[in-house]
Structures are given as C-alpha cells and as structure tokens.
Subunit: 688 residues, 2 copies
C-alpha cells in the first residue's frame, strides 16, 4: 500500500513539476529532484558548521550528519569543526517525524524537503531515510563560487519515482574484495540508490561463509569469500546509507562451485572443480531428490537469518537442462510427476524453494526464467532478457524489476542506459494497476571482464545515469544536461574514495611504464571497449586471464568521443562556432600526432602491440579529419578520389583491434562525406 | 658491535663495488644495491608463481612472500596463483639462516643475496630482514618488455650503508589518521627504510591513548588520537616490513596539549587550551617539581610497555625558557641547585628523564638540544639544526642521526636532499671511531602545512632519494639516474595505494570543478610552493586554515621545471638536439597559451584568484622564451630594448604569488640574456 501511494505521488508530482522542472545547468544535482525552486542568495560554507536535530532522534541520524559534514570537508578542503547547535542558530537543522522500520522496507517513504537560505539549511523528512537522501542533495548543491564554497538558496521537495533502485554486483566470476563492496555502497548513497543486490554464488565461486555447510566456501572459493562477520558489517554500513542488501544464491543452475564441496547436490556424478571459464554450463542441482531440499532448507535458513532484508533472490536463470536430460532417474521422476519439459521441472523446483523461502518469512525474487503461473503472486520477477517479461509479469499479477538495458558490463553509453525506462516499451500500455507492479530497476555489474582494479570504472559514472532514471520524474531526460551533471558526480564520488578515475590512470602507467603515459592516454581516450559480448568471440577467457590490456584500462564510454561527435554534428549542421572548430582541430591534431610519440612505447610494451594498428589508424583519422575541415573551410568540394581513399582508410579504422574500437570513425566518415557537397558547408551560418 | 661491523662492511663494500657500480639506467632499482652484476636472459613473470622456503622458517616470511606476490600481481595485472613449491622447481626460492631478533635491533643484519636466472629466483639472507629487503629489489627488477613482464638475470649482493634509515611523521600539528601511517609504512618498505619515528605529542595535539593519564588524549586531541590497540597493530605491521617504531614524546617544551588535561605539569598556572597556531611557544614542563617526574615515570613506563623498540625519543627541542624565567620558584630552584642557565636546567631535566627511560630498559634519543656532557654516552642525538651538532656529538662520544637537510616540509628538491650525506661536511674529518657513531639519518615530515590529503605528496617521491642516500654506497650520486629511478618508484608506490599522485589530481579538480582541470594542471606543474618557512611570513595559519589552495595541491618539486631547466642548459651549452628544442617550444607554447584558457576559471573560483597574476606571468614567460628561441635560431642578437623589457617582466614573474613561484624564471632569464650574445648561439654545434 505504501508502494501504491508512493507511485501515485510520483505520478502526480511529475505532472505538477514538469513545467518548472527542466534541469538548471548550474546546479549539479543527480538524480534531479522531483521539485526544485531556486531562491535568492547563497549559504557560504564556513567553519564551524553546527548541526541541530529536532523531532525523532537516533544514532544513525547523527552518523549520517557526521558523514555529510566529513564529505563536505573533503569537497571543500575546509577542516570543518562541528558541534551540536541550537535549532535557531545551527547551520544545518534536521527534523525527522518518526523512526524508519528496523529493517528497511520496500516502498518505505524516502521523501524529504530541503530548504537552503543564506543563513541556514533546513532538512526535514518523515523518517531517517529522507534525511539520508536529502543530505546528498545538499552536498551536491555546494559548489565553488567567486566568493567561496556555497550552496545556492533553494527549496527542494523530493521523493523517488520508483521504490526499488538497485545495483547488482557479481562478486563470483571475478572475486571483489570487501573494500570494493564498501566503495560501491558509498557511490550508491551519493546517487540515492537503495538496493545492493549481492550476487554471491556462481559456477566460478561460492563467496560467503556458511557455518552449516563450510565446504561451500572452503572448496568452492579459492579462499576468496566474505565471512559472516564481514557480511553483518556490510549490512549495517548499507543500512546507515539507506540501502537494503538482497543476497542472491543462484539455483538450480550456476551452481558448479557448490558441487565442489557437495557433489551430491548435482544432477550428474562428481567430482566437480570450480569453473574457470565463462558461459552457460551444464551442472544443475538435482530437483528430484528430497536431500536437495533438505540441504536448501538448512542453507536458506542460515542465510535468511544472516540477511535481514525481506527479499531473498534465488537466481533461476540459464538452466540448459543437459544434466537433467542425461539422468535416467530425473527423466523417470519427470514422467511420474507429469513434468513435460525442463521448464516445468524448474518450476517444480522453484515452487519447493519458494516454500522454503516463505517458511523463512522472506519474499522470493528471481530472474525472469522463474515466471510461472504455479508460483504465488507475492514473488518478484527481475527482467534481464528484455522488457517484455517485465510487462508480462505485471499483467500476470507479479511485481517486477527491470534490468534489461541496465547491464553495465555491455559497455553501452550512459545515454543508452538513460533512455531505458521501466514504464516505456511493452510496459507503456499496462493498466494503472499493472503499472504499480513495476517496482523499479537494477543496474547489473557482471564480472567476466571486470577485476577489482577496473570494477569502479565499469560501474561509474554510468551508473549515476541509471540512478537518475529510477529516481527522477520521467520527463527529466535532457541528454546534455545528464552528461554535464554525470561528469560532476563522477569527480565528486572520486573524492569519496571510488577508484574509477585513479585506477585507470595506474593501469595506463602499467601499459607503458615511462613518461609516455599522456600519449597512451590520448589513445585510450580515443577508443572504447568492444560492446556487448564481443569479447567472448575474440579469445578464450578464464578467471586467470590478465585484465591488464588497453581494453581493460580505458573507460566504457569515451568523453572525448562524445564531445567530438557533438562538435561534428554542430559543424555539419552549420552551427559550429569558431571555438567549436578550433576544438575539433585540436582533437584531430592530437590524434594525428600521437602515433609518432607512441612508436618507442610499442617497441617496449608487449601489452600495447595489439593496439599499435589502432594507433596508426587514429593518426590516419586525424589527418583525414583535418583535411576534411580544410575542404569545408575552403567551401570547395573534395576530389572524389580523395574521398574514396579516405573512406577506405576509415573502413579499415572501423575494425576493432585488441578489443577496442576507435570512437571517431562515424564522425570522420560523415565529415569526409560532407566534403563532397561543398554547398552544404558554404550555406552554413558559421561559415558566413 | 654489530653496528661497528656493519659500518666497516659498508665502507669496504663501497670501495670494492665502486668500479662497477654506476647505476645502469635500464634497471629501476632504488635504493641502488651495494653490488650488482647483470647476467644474460630474463625470468618471465607468469602464473602459477610458486615460492619455496629453505632453512629457517617463520610466519612473517610467508607473509612477506605473499605480500610480494600480491604486489607483483598489482604491478603486472596478472592474477598470479601461488603455491608452495619444491625448492628445485619453485619460481622463487627463499633461504634464511636463522631468526631475527624478536624486537628488531639497531644494526641487525639486513643483507641479502638475490640471484635471478631465466628459470628461478634465489633470495638468501642471514635472517628475515634481508628477505624483506631483497623482495623489494626483486619487485623493482620486474619490468615491461617486448615479450612480457620479466626480471632480467642479475646477481645482487646488498646491504645498507647506514643501520638507521628513518622517517619522522608529525601526526600532531595536523592529525594524520591511521591509514596515513599504514600507507607511509608501505612506502618505506618499498625503499628499504627501517625506522618509523612517530612524533606523537605536541603543543597542537596529544595523539595517543594513555590509560594511566586519560585526560592527555581526552582533553588534548579533539578526539583525534590512536588507541593502544591501533598502535599495537601498527607495530606489528611495521615489524612485518622490517621497520622499527620509535615513539617520540617531546618534552619539556612542545607540551601545551599535555597541560590541557594536566595543568599541574606546567611551569605557569593554567588553564591551558590546545595550541592552534604554529611557532615556538612558552609552555614547558616544570623541571623542579618531583611530581613532574612521578607523572613521567608513570607515563614513560606505560609507553615503554606499549612500544617494544629499544629506543625512546624524548624530543627536547625548542624550549624558550620564558615560563621558567617568569616563575620565582623555578628561579629559586635553579639558584639552589647551581643551575646557571635555562640550558643547564633542561640538562638537569634530561638527566632525570634519562634515568626513567633507562629504568624502563630503553635508550634515550633526543633532538640536538639535549647534547650535554652530563648525559651518559649511550644516548643518541638527532641533529636537526645543522650537521655540526652531529659531528660534535660523535666527537664527544655520542651516537647520532642526521635530519638537518632531510626536512621534507621545506619543499626542497630531491636533488638537494640527495646531496646531503651524514658523513660529509663537518663529519668528513671525524676519526674512524667517531664516524662509526653516525648511525644514519631520518627524513622529517612536519605538518604545519600538511594535511592527510597532501601528506603523501609532501613525502613522496622525494623521500625515496633520501632512502637511497642512507642505503646505497656513497659513490652512487648521479642526479639524472636518481631522478629517472625516483619517478619510476613514484609510479610503483602509487600502485601500492599511496596517494601522492591521485590526491593532488583531486585537489586540482576541487580548484576548478569543471572541465578546465588540465589547464589548472599546466599552471600547477609550472609552479612550486615557496621554500623553507616562507609561508610563516605570508599569513597567519592555524590548524583550522584550509589547505585547499594551489600551493597545497601542487608537488613540492616540479618535474616539468626540472626538464625545462635541463633543456635550457643543453640549449645554451650548444648541446640541444632538434627534439630538445621542439620540447622546449612545446613547453613554452603550453605556458603561453594556458592563461587564456584559465580566464573563465578565474572568474568562478575564489581559490584560484590569488594565482591569476602568476598565470598571467606564466604566459609572459612563455612568450619571452619563444621569442628568445627565435632570436637564438636566427643567430642574430636581440635588441637591447627587447631584452630590458623581457627582464623586467621576468623580474615581475619571479615574485611568489599565492605562495607559489614560477619554476621557469631562472631558465628564461638565462635564455633572454643569451640572446644578447648571438655569437654564443651561432657557435653552438646544434645550430651548425
């Protein structure tokens, strides 16, 4: 019911706010609030910075305020002295009506009101969750001004569009140490995400301590697992940040690592070893033996006691059925139970698992494969194969989450993720009642090609765009504004200790180990990793394959690439200013000249050999672009032979090498093609 | 006696090794080993990487090897699987003769032999300390090659020149959280330093928990202190890295923070508050009351139990005597005890403190003010006011350490620190017996203008040059080789988690908060903080003054500045190649053009306003330099009026603004002056 109200509120809020709600570019808020009105003047950030509380109080609120002041100190470099102040005089006054639930609930009120005046900040919320959200908004408001660090006077009235705004982290395919989890939670708090979905077991590793079944982690993890004490600390840390922790134990497939210690759970005889490669594998639990459920009763009982959240994720994806089909006993069981397909057998399994989850007072959630009318309507479907399953689940009465379109491992642009909305596409035509069943979404960080070293860079800053999609009103969708704010958020979360900026730099240092790192960076900034699952095609990867190449060190989305594409579009639309054209020339010149500087590095670094041809082609692209600019400047069409030659070069440059692709290709192709039509160029206002 | 032998060995080793000991520039070892012979071939770093132990074994050795393999994994990006191997087949074979002392001793053997062949690494040492040192040498040998990561075949026979190679960290003036201590120890291990001198009490803060006298930390630290549990962990962590931890409790001066909780210790009535500013202050312990010594007996007893090291530092510096002179009781005491001066009163105090330290089975160490013939010859003198006191102490039979010349807070160049040798200057003429009393030295990181954010940048990489001076043979002193290796070490310790590279970048982001960070960096790289104690003159600083300005964000020594000076010298000596001249022009062009790009930032960032004139002058310097190059290229003398005009500009540019100074000034002055003598330029071989 809370959810119902929250959704209704969001919808009403949206239409009310839409007129005045176009993001103002000089405020770097992300996610953009539901409602914001700017005022006059600003609050200067100075020391001492006193905080007063009124209404409900609890230690978590004090910790939240202390954390915010400490972050403010990091942002500004001012050693802020804090003290408890009287409400009438304190810099920041926080009012809370009542406590939040002991265990944070889905749909719990996260709204807050924030008022900044030149003398005080007032933050009020029904419960501590709103304070946690509002403090982040306040921190984002603080900016560098000609007179000092200051927050502009504003009135914010904010609440989320969706109640479930999560990030899933796969800590199995590549082990992610506990520090990665903590910094991910720090980043999530900054962008108001509220669910950490912890993918804890896989073919490639069982990553949590079970006291009941210790062979799970002892034999299934290479020693890389979280202790229960660590998990409890993570849960507390997350709760302080208004983040629920939902564990996932993927079953009946994706379970090879379980079978190393407990082969009797499998549908084919062991022994098993930890899977090292990537893909869909045959091992699956035997859904026909009572012993399997007895084990799961013990295990789920243990984990349900450890994780307080009301939801329990059982995975359920990608069972290929091969072990089931090859096992005569399982075949006989299916026949005797009238189960006509692997899907029906899995539904049988899910039903029995659901009963165990239910007995532990938890709500089951699973990937969209678990959708089956035999399961109760209380379960939640996480849609990963496409938005259709989300709409289908809602129509069948199930609540659902969208993850399709939010897969961070696919190396898509922030813009692409930002365009994905849980309520558009197949969900656009749902009835109001069905719409209410769409709880939100989750970004997913699968880690086939993601190490602890580059995981931050794979998540951030793109995840901030997804966080905004899930929090802000649907009509907040200006791409340029989103990017401008996203890159500010990126810098700010780097100050919190996230390593999406610093680690890539170290990785570039590793690639060259000399003074040529800036030149390596020019190349790195001019490429993007290949998209989707293309890396599966190029070579056989395992857990042991070094992820130390250029493709691993560069950002999923090239900022230079986007700037270059925008400038090219302006140019060809005749809207480029002189400064735009100078910037285009500057980028192209850097590309053209970089290869020569990298030549000595290619001689010494085996890691860069594979991208030497890409560097060579980047130089060719730079030259082609510069010549194209000359033709356009001279308002004379280029010779057809020149264009043909350039287009051949560009075609050559479009092929990925070393699993990276040059980002300038489409724009330079357009530029070269445009030189054939001198009239277009001549007619542009910028050339008049 | 061990010390005696170690010193003798070092002296013999030096003369033996000197012929073959010129650092080979393709090996990035720092400190350079006493003896090194290169071999043929290289050992490729691949997974699995097995380690075998022979001889003495203990858990610390296993931890050291695990740590090295983990660092190797970070360096190479290869997920190295490790296993215990048979000695005949293991990648790395470690042999240790016997255990080291339970509590690491001054002068304990740190020697090791390291042999790398294309198939194996053999590391042997008399005790674990040598293994800890040798592992770092091995890690530094590993480099990027055209075929993979590899260590070249070498034979290293290494031991330190001095037995005391320390770093002092002041955690009082600006509190340095425990993470800073840990990363400092990581850096020290990498460059083979072996003493962490922990400056724990000051006027501005008492930074360690006393259980006997809890008001020390409760009232004297603002809550910023280390618990005893934390201290024990630090000591263990340091021991694992072959680093002794020597605590310092500065007395009888520098003690204001003690008096906040215990005013009865002072020589003037309280109450006292924590000192917030910098300088030499009046408060001093009352050396005439028995209660003072009773307190110190309790306190030193407690701390001597906590810190296992044999040495105990009592400070002893900068007592101005004002409180003593103003206190009639103290004056009466001096008369009755025939103490004729403040110095004699302090010597009386030191004698009584020494007796307490001695009773706790510790050796007293203090700053050079404590040097007094009344004290036993066992004490150690740390020379900070100049090298004279070190020689004087040695002549009087005292052991000593050099810190004068190694003050990292004075913003000197690595070259300046590197030139300081404990055995040159006044110590050069000591007898062999006196020379043996010189134990080594310590770099000092005082923190008046150093926050946890920039402390890494203030220590590193310059501290690596001091570490080399104290470890390597005296005849290793080539400056270019030192810088080349130092900057490689700098990158490598950044991979260990030190923040001397990443934090300055974040600080530059804070200064502009936009896309102009690279332009801010051009300015930041073209300046250095003012030197020595000049910041004392420009404004009144306290603990609460933000250290968030350009002066705080830039490196103490500009790498661009050094390159530019070298290139200018080559040019004016007629030795510049075409590439050198192109690089000069490129730097000058960047300087000339940067100011225009920064103009919008100066409009918005109050933090950069103070350096806007410096940026303007940088542009003028760039233009002057480019024109000077033109004159030199044209082999025609410049007009005198032009030179006069430029020299006026340069004079103007030489003044510090915002506490930073432009590094290009001296070189550009030389260049401009050289344009008056066209003959010089014309006669240069590079112009022929």
């Amino acid at each position: 019911m809370r959810t119902l109200l929250a959704c209704l509120f969001a919808v009403i809020g949206m239409s009310f706010a839409s007129a005045q709600n176009a993001p103002s570019t000089n405020l770097n808020l992300m996610p953009w609030p539901a409602k914001l009105q700017t005022g006059t003047g600003q609050l200067m950030i100075t020391s001492p910075f006193s905080v007063a509380f009124t209404g409900h109080s609890e230690p978590r609120l004090q910790r939240a305020a202390d954390r915010a002041v400490s972050t403010l100190s990091v942002q500004t470099g001012i050693p802020l002295q804090t003290s408890a102040g009287e409400a009438s005089k304190a810099t920041l006054v926080i009012h809370v009506d009542h406590a939040s639930a002991e265990v944070q609930k889905l749909g719990e009120d996260e709204s807050y009101q924030l008022q900044v005046t030149p003398t005080q900040v007032h933050l009020s919320a029904p419960n501590p969750l709103g304070v946690i959200r509002g403090l982040q908004t306040f921190l984002q408001l603080v900016q560098l001004t000609p007179t000092g660090f200051a927050a502009p006077a504003v009135q914010v009235d904010d609440s989320p569009r969706f109640p479930w705004r999560g990030l899933m982290l796969d800590v199995c395919r590549h082990w992610q140490p506990i520090e990665v989890v903590y910094r991910t939670l720090d980043g999530m708090e900054a962008v108001k995400m509220n669910v950490f979905h912890w993918h804890l077991s896989e073919n490639q590793g069982f990553r949590i301590e079970s006291k009941k079944f210790p062979k799970l982690q002892e034999m299934g993890s290479d020693g890389d697992y979280y202790t229960q004490a660590q998990v409890k600390q993570v849960i507390e840390y997350a709760r302080d940040r208004g983040i629920r922790v939902v564990p996932e134990f993927d079953m009946p497939g994706h379970t090879t690592a379980w079978f190393v210690g407990y082969p009797e759970l499998a549908s084919a005889p062991g022994p098993y070893t930890i899977e090292r490669g990537w893909g869909v594998f045959d091992p699956a639990m035997d859904p026909t033996r009572d012993e399997t459920y007895k084990f799961l009763e013990g295990f789920i009982g243990e984990m349900a006691g450890l994780f307080p959240d009301n939801f329990f994720h059982i995975g359920g994806d990608e069972v290929n059925g091969k072990q089931w089909n090859a096992n005569p006993k399982i075949q006989a069981f299916m026949k005797s139970h009238n189960l006509k397909s692997d899907d029906e057998l899995q539904a049988y399994f899910n039903k029995r698992v659901q009963a165990i989850v239910d007995k532990n007072h938890k709500t089951m959630i699973g990937w969209d494969e678990i959708l089956n009318p035999d399961l109760p309507k209380s379960i939640v479907i996480q849609s990963w194969r496409g938005p259709k399953s989300l709409a289908a689940a809602a129509q069948q009465g199930y609540r659902g989450l969208l993850s399709s379109g939010y897969y961070l491992d696919l190396m898509q642009s922030a813009e692409q993720h930002y365009a994905v909305d849980p309520l558009t596409g197949p969900s656009a035509n749902l009835s109001p009642e069905e719409t209410k069943r769409i709880l939100g979404g989750e970004s997913c960080m699968w880690t086939e090609w993601v190490s602890p070293e580059n995981v931050d860079n794979r998540i951030w800053p793109r995840n901030a765009a997804i966080a905004e999609r899930l929090w802000s009103p649907a009509d907040i969708h200006d791409i340029n504004s989103m990017y401008a704010r996203m890159y500010v958020v990126s810098d700010r979360i780097a100050w919190l200790g996230l390593k999406h900026q610093s680690n890539p730099w170290k990785m570039l240092q590793r690639l060259s180990q000399g003074e040529q790192v800036p030149s390596v960076k020019v190349l790195a900034d001019a490429v993007e990793p290949v998209k989707g699952y293309e890396r599966e095609q190029t070579q056989k990867y395992t857990q042991f394959t070094p992820l130390n190449r250029l493709v691993d060190s560069t950002h999923p989305e090239s900022q230079v690439g986007r700037t270059f594409a925008d400038l090219t579009n302006s140019l060809l639309a005749g809207k480029a200013t002189a400064a735009d054209k100078a910037q285009l020339r500057s980028i192209l010149t850097a590309w053209r000249d970089n290869d020569a500087r990298l030549q000595p590095v290619f001689q010494t670094s085996f890691l860069l050999t594979e991208v030497a041809p890409a560097s060579h082609d980047l130089a060719a692209l730079g030259s082609a672009g510069l010549q194209a600019l000359d033709y356009l400047d001279q308002h004379s069409p280029s010779p057809e032979s020149w264009r043909a030659e350039q287009l051949t070069l560009i075609e050559q440059a479009s092929k990925p090498r070393g699993e990276v692709a040059l980002v300038g290709v489409p724009s330079i192709r357009k530029m070269v093609e445009a030189t054939g039509q001198a009239s277009t160029a001549t007619s542009s206002p910028a050339f008049k």
